[in-house]
């Protein structure tokens, strides 16, 4: 079955998101809430990736070869300034959204595979990913008027 491929996709998406959260934390360290919360979210993503690894390994054993163009690149580095921050948060949002839908897909598959452990993992992690999306949206809403209408 192909579940391993989506587990791998999600695993890599979580690793990439953790890395992107850390890059944004560093690039916008002068926004203390961005720095602290991005660092915390990076740890969340690490934990998600860690949780996925044993399932990815287990299902890899009876998976066919990985299909082409499974993975995508959503992040190519940070920017500076107020509008740069908005744009960086938007990248994080899209990356978190990729994880979010991948959790849904994996969750459905976990039911199909009748894998209780994987279902439990998905239940815990998809909620945390949803909060990441919400926080990014909240922070962008707060920043947008000043960054786009007021700042020089």
């Amino acid at each position: 079955m192909h579940l391993a491929h989506y587990l791998g996709l999600l695993h890599r998406a979580q690793v990439n998101l953790a890395d992107a959260f850390r890059q944004v934390a560093d690039a916008h360290a002068e926004e203390p809430d961005i720095r602290h919360l991005c660092e915390r979210q990076a740890k969340r993503c690490d934990a998600h990736a860690e949780g996925l690894r044993p399932f990815a390994d287990r299902y890899a054993e009876d998976a066919p070869t990985e299909p082409d163009r499974l993975h995508s690149q959503l992040f190519t580095g940070t920017r500076t300034g107020g509008i740069g921050l908005l744009r960086d948060l938007q990248d994080l949002y899209l990356m978190a959204a990729e994880c979010d839908i991948a959790w849904t897909v994996v969750g459905q598959a976990a039911y199909g595979a009748r894998d209780e452990d994987l279902i439990a993992l998905v239940k815990r992690c998809e909620g945390e990913t949803a909060i990441q999306l919400k926080w990014l949206r909240t922070r962008m809403k707060a920043a947008a008027p000043q960054a786009l209408v007021v700042a020089d």
Partner: protein, 811 residues
């Protein structure tokens, strides 16, 4: 006669549960005057702490000559805090600002009001011209003005300029109280009443050194403790404060770990069956999720995280879990620490699961640090909307638009109100170009002062400061406006337990100084703000008109003032909101029927994730179907953003002394108070001091990643690994050329709670080293309060002497 410097709490008047707190009238008249020398007494209340004590101002020959407590008042029953007894003398200080100042060639020079206001208005109009003009304005106000002044300022900002960049230093003191009340109960508003002290059988003080911050409330607690059937007492504080010394159980938790403690206590109470299942089922939401999270905090784990004995966690849970009438009070040890809102919600959770709410003795004080902080929250001068409205609820915004007769979209509701730290960030980045600071002193009170000074000194930022004195902040301003103060103007203000007091004008302000309300109204007139019909937006001329307008704004909201008039407030005692036609005497306790204001159409917020501050949407909130139930929210413990490391191995916590208020703008100018605590000190545990080779009185350097200060060491009962600095000490009383760094906020970190946005003053990592030998001279720290040395230290006691003789009696 009583020396209220030597004994800030005065004589005990013990009483038993359910009895009325006995009257004790405190008074202080200066210069040997007696009552016979007083021309008249003018009604007021305290603005030097948040208790809300009612007092009368003595006037003779057109000057204030003293004060006395109001025996009829429900809050203090005649008692006064030492800051109130002596602090009014600052009104007469020779260095009061009496004329406006403007910056000319780099210096501040005296000018007239027309010139000063002309400059502000010219700059304002220039900035307002063009799209996004509103975004260049920032207002940073205080917790010491009057309700009328905040409301006028709120209307100017939100309906006149249309800016969301308005906040107060209440962000530093009370933002978490508001956030926690909203999160748990649906709207702001303190459930309890100060009279809960009279009825309770247990008092829990969560990070609240009430003995020094609100001495009169502490007197009430001490009087219960000295009477029959005294309440049990629990203190959570890393310092050996007077509260901790009095308490039956003291948990000196490691700074930044309150959340683990709260989860652990809740777990114990649930597992031991000490919660009220019926109340939980009928009146709360989220119990199963709460239980799931707190289950991860057995006493052993809490003991490890908090560094307190596991047995003490169990004892605390038993004290809390077996009481019948539990009173909790929460302040900066929670609010200014890691996971502030979540930890404060933990206290609300405790009361909710035990059904300890809405009846005598079962009270919660989510405290305020400043006296009129409650009013900034109610009127919208801080990051809230007037009348505790929900900025995400279109109907609420439409109500305001109708009330003010302006277009809905003028009122900034399209993004959350900008909190103080973000206002300074926008000023730092340059998009806020005019920053108007009223009656507060961010150049001493905000974290990371070298950064704040850099922001305020930026030539592109036009800084207006409105204050009594040339504060450290005013020194950096472009225009300084001389304000009238308490005793020199009329207005109302509201204490933590929703009690509204009036403060009448007793004397004229000095020189050309003006009430803050007059300054705001003058600005509105000169700016010519118009409503939708082209009429002046603001037509008020005096405080009572503003109060009447505010009543309309509050109508139907939780803080309904419509039953209150100036006449009703004069002569008697304070009145607690909501006060309406149906409840003409006010309302002593909220939620007596277990119904909470969580209705989606009425609530003040749709809620936040406590770990990140992420906002929940209206549909998500509606889906919870709160139906008048309160919310049980908790999260897992997370370490602080800053924890000790090899370079900075100790934790700094900051706070107050009983003798000073805020940045000493007034108390530093009252001789008795100034002498009692004249200079900064640093508290060290004797074990840490011994390791570092530091003795009492030695000069010590304390350094963080932001900066360093020098202070003399007081060896006392703080927990090992933690150092304490009082936050009051700035630089105004030092020669500009001889200033040594001594403000605690040179060291503190720029970081804040994700929900309340309250800065984390309590968890900076620091290094401590000895700089010079004290040669046996003790630190300038009071021997009263949290800085009390061990009894055998041989340090002369702090006394006020003949100049501090006050009276205290039954009358």
């Amino acid at each position: 006669m009583v020396d209220r410097i030597a004994d800030p709490w005065g004589e005990r008047t013990p009483y038993g549960p359910g009895q009325e707190w006995p009257v004790r009238v405190d008074r202080y008249l200066a210069d040997g005057r007696t009552d016979a020398d007083v021309d008249r007494w003018v009604q007021s209340a305290s603005v030097l702490h948040s208790n809300g004590d009612a007092l009368d101002i003595a006037v003779a020959d057109g000057r204030i000559v003293g004060v006395r407590g109001r025996a009829v008042d429900r809050i203090n029953r005649g008692r006064l805090d030492p800051k109130d007894l002596y602090g009014w003398q600052a009104n007469h200080s020779p260095d009061r600002l009496t004329r406006p100042l403007v910056r000319e060639g780099g210096r501040l020079v005296e000018t007239d009001w027309d010139t000063a206001m002309g400059r502000i208005v010219a700059r304002s109009k220039e900035l307002l011209d063009g799209p996004g003009g509103w975004g260049h304005f920032g207002f940073y106000t205080t917790g010491q003005l009057f309700l009328e002044e905040y409301y006028a300022l709120g209307v100017i900002g939100k309906a006149g300029l249309g800016t969301p960049h308005m906040d107060g230093n209440t962000r530093l003191c009370t933002a978490t109280a508001a956030a926690a009340l909203k999160a748990s109960f649906g709207t702001d508003g303190q459930p309890g009443s100060y009279t809960d002290v009279d009825h309770c059988d247990a008092i829990a003080l969560w990070g609240h050194n009430v003995a020094e911050t609100q001495t009169v409330l502490w007197m009430r607690m001490l009087d219960r403790r000295r009477g029959p059937n005294p309440p049990a007492m629990l203190a959570v504080d890393p310092r050996a404060t007077p509260v901790a010394r009095e308490a039956d159980l003291h948990l000196a938790v490691r700074s930044g770990t309150n959340m683990a403690l709260m989860n652990g206590l809740l777990r114990e109470i649930i597992r031991r069956g000490w919660y009220d299942r019926d109340y939980v089922d009928a009146h709360t939401l989220g119990f199963e999720e709460l239980r799931r999270i707190v289950d991860g905090y057995p006493p052993r784990r809490v003991a490890d995280i908090c560094d307190v004995p596991a047995a003490d966690v169990e004892r605390a849970a038993e004290l809390l879990g077996t009481s019948q009438r539990l009173l909790s009070t929460v302040l900066q040890g929670f609010y200014q620490s890691n996971q502030a809102t979540a930890a404060a919600c933990g206290v609300n959770n405790l009361h909710l699961i035990r059904g300890m709410i809405g009846r005598p003795g079962a009270g919660i004080y989510q405290m305020n640090g400043q006296p009129t902080a409650q009013n900034t929250r109610e009127t919208g001068a801080d990051g809230d909307l007037p009348g505790l409205r929900n900025w995400e609820n279109t109907a609420h915004i439409e109500e305001l638009a109708r009330l003010w007769n302006v277009d809905v979209d003028v009122i900034p509701h399209w993004a959350p109100p900008t909190h103080a730290m973000q206002i300074f960030r926008y000023a730092e980045q340059g998009s806020i170009k005019l920053l108007w600071i009223s009656a507060t002193n961010p150049a001493v009170s905000l974290p990371d002062l070298s950064r704040i000074r850099r922001v305020l000194a930026k030539p592109e930022l036009f800084v207006v400061v409105q204050d009594l004195f040339l504060t450290e902040t005013a020194e950096l301003a472009d225009v300084v406006l001389p304000g009238a103060t308490w005793g020199e103007k009329t207005g109302t203000f509201t204490s933590v337990d929703r009690t509204v007091h009036i403060s009448d004008k007793a004397v004229d302000p000095p020189g050309e100084a003006k009430p803050d309300l007059d300054i705001f109204l003058d600005y509105a007139r000169r700016m010519d703000f118009r409503d939708r019909d082209g009429q002046p937006l603001i037509r008020w001329t005096g405080p009572e008109e503003v109060f009447e307008a505010w009543k309309e704004c509050s109508r139907g909201r939780p803080c309904d003032y419509t039953g209150i008039t100036y006449a009703k407030l004069r002569g008697g005692s304070g009145v607690q909101w909501p006060c309406t036609d149906e409840h003409p005497d006010g309302t002593e306790r909220l939620y007596t029927d277990g119904r909470f204001p969580t209705d989606p159409d009425y609530c003040e917020t749709y809620g936040h994730d406590l770990a990140t501050g992420a906002e929940f949407t209206e549909p998500e909130y509606r889906a919870k179907e709160p139906d008048g139930r309160a919310f049980l929210h908790t999260v897992d413990y997370q370490p602080s953003p800053e924890v000790p490391d090899d370079e900075h191995p100790m934790l700094l916590t900051t706070g107050r002394t009983v003798y000073q208020f805020h940045t000493r703008t007034k108390t530093g100018r009252a001789p008795q108070l100034d002498r009692a605590a004249p200079d900064v000190w640093v508290e060290l545990n004797p074990a840490d001091a011994a390791r570092l080779g530091i003795a009492e009185g030695d000069l010590v350097g304390v350094a963080s990643a932001r900066g360093g200060i020098q202070a003399r060491a007081r060896l006392c009962g703080i927990r090992p690994g933690v150092v304490f600095l009082p936050f009051h000490y700035g630089y105004f009383d030092q020669d500009p050329h001889e200033r040594t760094p001594r403000a605690a906020n040179e060291l503190t970190v720029t970081a804040w709670d994700p929900v309340s946005k309250q800065p984390l003053f309590k968890v900076a990592a620091v290094a401590v080293e000895k700089l010079a030998d004290g040669r046996g001279v003790p630190a300038p720290a009071p021997t009263v309060g949290g800085s009390a040395p061990p009894p055998d230290a041989g340090i002369p006691p702090t006394v006020g002497g003949p100049a501090a003789q006050a009276t205290s009696g039954k009358e």
